[in-house]
Subunit: 144 residues, 2 copies
Amino acid sequence: MRIGELAQQAGVTTKALRFYERAGVLPEPARSPSGYRNYDETALSRLRFIKGAQAAGLTLAEIVQIVAVREAQGPPCAHVVALLDRHAVDLDLRIAGLVSARDDVERLRERAAELDPADCAADGICHIIPTKASNDAVAAPEPG
Amino acid sequence: MRIGELAQQAGVTTKALRFYERAGVLPEPARSPSGYRNYDETALSRLRFIKGAQAAGLTLAEIVQIVAVREAQGPPCAHVVALLDRHAVDLDLRIAGLVSARDDVERLRERAAELDPADCAADGICHIIPTKASNDAVAAPEPG
DNA sequence: GTAGACGTTCCAGCACAGTGGAAGGTCAAG
DNA sequence: CTTGACCTTCCACTGTGCTGGAACGTCTAC
């Protein structure tokens, strides 16, 4: 199976396949005498695994790890669960960060509604955006 | 005011200051005869604005826009509000994406608890990760 | 024999906000 | 006069997952 055929069946580009090979997630295939890559069936199931793992949010580096564990010591399930756990924590952190950022933006928009553009001093560029001096006004909108 | 002094007062590195200048968020300062940058007071308030805008999640490119609008047509409040709106939408999208990814990971962990590593076939690498053929098992865990 | 559709390699770039380092100029103090 | 702290410029690199293109080889069909 040539690279273009595999690419089509797997729904990726040939560029991506060569990239996967260099990244170590896809094993180096056999070559024809003229140097063309010659893939077998296992390449397709490997690619399916890669896509599934990516859909689960794993990076290529992590997929390399999983494949290595599988090849070194059999079923990598424990490793995969640990990876998923770490990702869950990471996702929670990032979600919390984004939610907090979203809240900040919301507060800024409320602040904007109360301010008059005419009061906007030139050296502050825009009075909607709090500078360090007035930062606590955003962190605690209603101190009293 | 020399660059090191400004950097210290603003709480950034001199590298960052030169980077801001090249990015266009910080205006080019006057130079001493020997080529040293010579900042005035406005640089500090500009930096405070930059930090505030970054804290609000705006990119340097957007900050450049805001500054340009301010200098071209006065208070950029409407522009800033539009930017904040766009960021709110963007944040919502990204939060939704991450939450969905988090749910996927959670489902995968539940699936892992039900599976026995002994059943893990080699060509799938790890049966916790669903391949395309069994994808709907994850999308709809309880079809019936 | 030649056109065109494939294949190969390597190098560069994207977005983002900087950081690190090299090679050299400047300034104040001792 | 020299040391050391500071300044200047420019180029490369970080992380992530590819993509685009150049320059060239190969295979198939007409």
